[in-house]
Amino acid sequence: MFDLLKLRIRHGKQAIPDIRKAKVMEAFRGFPIIDETRSWNGGVGCKEICPTGAIDVNPLRIDLGKCIFCGECEKFSDGAIKFSNQYRLGSSKRESLVIASSKIFEEFDNTAIEAKKEIHKLFGRSLKLRQVSAGGCNGCELELNAASNVNFDMGRFGIDFVASPRHADGVVITGPISSNMAPALKDAYNSISEPKIVIAVGACAISGGLFADSNQINRKFFDEVPVNLFIPGCPPHPFTFIHALLDFLGK
């Protein structure tokens, strides 16, 4: 009994008080800052080195939907690419994830996610999500679990993961969609009643990531079903996920 009290006292308050103002440490690789003036040589080398083909040149740009934030390009870029620790990377439009030197973080942040009135009205106070891992490596899954832990405590915003798709307002997809999971994902999606939202989490779900070239994946689902929210990362930090949702819900 005594130990239990001691443990509770030592545990204290773990929840991050104001998620909106929270910062992550410098070391974290988030929104890239691109300085085109220095990319005359580095750009091509970067394009070659990028494992997921996220980099294109003329002008130098990075597709955050493909990027796994490995940081390799930074080393080869001669200062043309630098990853900041800005973790707000979510977007409701796929095109917005392509970052060039003309796009600074503030502009991206103001435009990437559009808070729609009807979404706020429908889900603003309560959003229940069904997660489906379709070839995910357990990286995104762990971070999505972490979003609900004592530190991040996403539940305080009325956003929770639920077990049954019948109880859910939307589906959160991780993984490149392995062929063996494609039918189950479709079933889960179909079981959610309208109106429903689709969230793609991580480079694999958004673009196939490292597995884009595999013949064991089947991404037809995304041809048929529009995605409402893209959350880049490998895996995305829980803050990235929570912030994107809060913006999306207009909170």
């Binding site: 130990d3 239990l4 001691k6 443990l7 509770r8 030592r10 545990h11 773990q14 992550v24 440490m25 070391a27 974290f28 690789r29 080195i49 494992p51 796994i68 934030f69 490995c70 940081g71 390799e72 990853f83 997660q131 489906v132 891992s133 379709a134 070839g135 995910g136 490596c137 357990n138 990286g139 995104c140 899954e141 762990l142 999505l144 679990n145 972490a146 832990n149 004592v150 530190n151 993961f161 077990a163 993984g175 490149p176 392995s178 062929s179 063996n180 999971m181 189950a184 889960a188 990531g209 490292l210 597995f211 070239d213 595999s214 013949n215 064991q216 994946i217 490998c234 895996p235 930090h237």
Partner: protein
């Protein structure tokens, strides 16, 4: 010479692996097994008009590995070893599935991974075991499970609440990882990232195993400094996941104090990993030839402070958790795997140690920092959920001590040395102790020094069968708890 004797990470010319007639190889395998060896790799490689099968056995006491091979013509068959040595069952099934060479007499030739090409469609239509009788019923779960967890299908045959039999069907996560290794053999950066994503909960474990295999194949040198950083990262990974598992196990028995306190401790540890390399799971830290990030003085200070606090916290939380009668009532005698069963099925990792099987690659086949700082093997006896939980606690404390020692050792030298081209026609086995247990990669290069086969074995490959056996005669409501106490990987198994 019927075996090529090697060590972990010792690459040898491919020609030195003896090629035997299968029948004599089988006799030799059984002989070695009876002397106390166990199988760590068993995989095929497609040659021009035939298939080579490579077998690697480990003598853990003497830190030796024994490799041999045999050739099969296409569509051939061989006499299954499984009836005599059960731990071969899945290796043979996988080999059959990938190359179509049939193990004759195999008692359970179920596809290793659901619906993956290689074997006839007829055999792909696998029928689950069924049970008949009054009050007998089946419960099917998955591929999609209740929580945020990877997919797999579980089918329980129950009598009332009691589980008689559990059949597990995996393969839903199959992404063609081994093929991608060969497809991208010219892109070393890609391969390193891919190895990190074999299973995203064992980033350091698999990436380290891969990097060491490639270093060995190219005789690339690494500095003492970089192996120390790698080893620190691998122990941080172990601590982080073990804390997460203790948190989840407490959650599974509705013990919320344990759930939240272990959970909060985990956050601090994985944030330490992020402070080193920018990723909470250690992405981009490991490189072929060393590491990409340093642990400077300030970081060192921070990590030791975090560990000091953690040690006190974890001891207190464990004291509370493991003395709570409501927790013990659920943990003790639940999901028992006996020592004999563990040996027979070839269990590895903390799960094996919880059943009294003293296996730990860090001690048995040391690599990286463990060549400098030997690790003492820890085991428990009861093989139940309690033991699998408690061993995690014990290992957390052990890993804290290991990291402390490593942090104190002087680290000079460069972070990353230039990596050499791979030598042609070589063979290497790279083993390591991931938090889940023994990871074994094997690599073969061709005449041009390019990877021609890269085989991966996650510890989950050994251990999934233990989940099926552990739940027998337990209540079905204890399944989530049993399952979590193993915490096996789907993606690492499915590849």
């Amino acid at each position: 010479m019927s075996w090529c004797e090697i060590k972990n990470l010792q690459s040898v010319p491919l020609d030195e692996i003896p090629q035997l007639e299968y029948s004599s190889l089988k006799t030799k395998i059984i002989e070695k097994i009876s002397e106390g060896c166990r199988v760590v790799q068993f995989f095929g490689d497609k040659l021009k008009d035939c298939v080579a099968l490579y077998i690697v056995l480990a003598d853990d006491e003497q830190s030796k590995l024994f490799a041999a091979s045999t050739l099969f013509s296409e569509g051939g068959s061989f006499e299954s070893i499984t009836p005599e040595v059960q731990s071969f069952h899945l290796f043979e099934r996988e080999f059959y599935e990938q190359f179509g060479i049939k193990p004759v007499g195999h008692p359970w030739l179920k596809p290793a991974r659901k619906g993956i090409a290689g074997i006839s469609s007829e055999e792909n239509q696998y029928e689950f075991f069924t049970m008949e009788g009054e009050e007998v019923h089946e419960v099917g779960v998955g591929p999609i499970h209740a929580g945020i967890i990877e997919p797999g299908h579980f089918r329980f045959s129950c009598h009332g609440e009691q589980i008689y039999h559990l059949e597990i069907e995996l393969g839903f996560q199959h992404r063609g990882v081994e093929d991608l290794f060969l497809k991208n053999k010219n892109k070393p950066e890609f391969l390193l990232n891919l190895s990190e994503s074999i299973t995203g909960d064992t980033v350091i474990g698999h990436a380290g195993t891969f990097a060491r295999a490639i270093e060995s194949l190219g005789e690339t040198d690494v500095s003492r400094k970089s192996i120390i950083i790698r080893t620190i990262a691998s122990e941080l990974e172990r601590i982080g996941i073990h804390l997460g598992d203790l948190s989840a196990l407490a959650g599974d028995v509705a013990y919320l104090t344990g759930n939240s306190s272990f959970g909060a401790m985990r956050t601090k540890i994985i944030n330490s990993t992020m402070a080193i390399c920018g990723s909470r799971f250690g992405h981009s830290l490991i490189a072929v030839g060393g590491v990409n990030y340093d642990i400077n003085k300030e970081l060192k200070e921070n990590i030791s402070q975090t560990l000091n606090k953690l040690e006190e916290d974890v001891e207190l939380a464990a004291e509370v958790l493991f003395s709570s009668s409501s927790v013990l009532a659920r943990f003790e005698k639940t999901g028992v795997v006996s020592f004999e069963t563990a040996k027979e099925i070839g269990l590895v990792g903390p799960a094996a140690r919880a059943s009294g099987v003293a296996l730990d690659v860090r001690t048995d086949h040391p690599y990286d920092g463990f060549t400098l700082f030997p690790v003492h093997k820890l085991t428990l006896k009861s093989g139940d959920v309690f033991a699998r939980a408690y061993i995690r606690y014990v290992e957390i404390i052990q890993s804290i001590k290991i990291i402390r020692e490593l942090l104190e050792s002087p680290v000079e030298g460069e972070l990353k040395k230039p990596s050499n081209d791979l030598l042609p026609k070589r063979f290497v086995v790279s083993m390591s102790e991931g938090w889940r247990g023994e990871i074994v990669h094997a690599g073969i290069t061709d005449e041009e020094g390019q990877l021609k086969r890269y085989k991966i074995k996650d510890p989950s490959f050994n251990n999934w069968i233990a989940v099926a056996l552990a739940v027998r005669n337990n209540g079905i409501s204890d399944f989530p708890l049993c399952n979590k106490s193993f915490n096996l990987s789907y993606s690492g198994f499915d590849l």
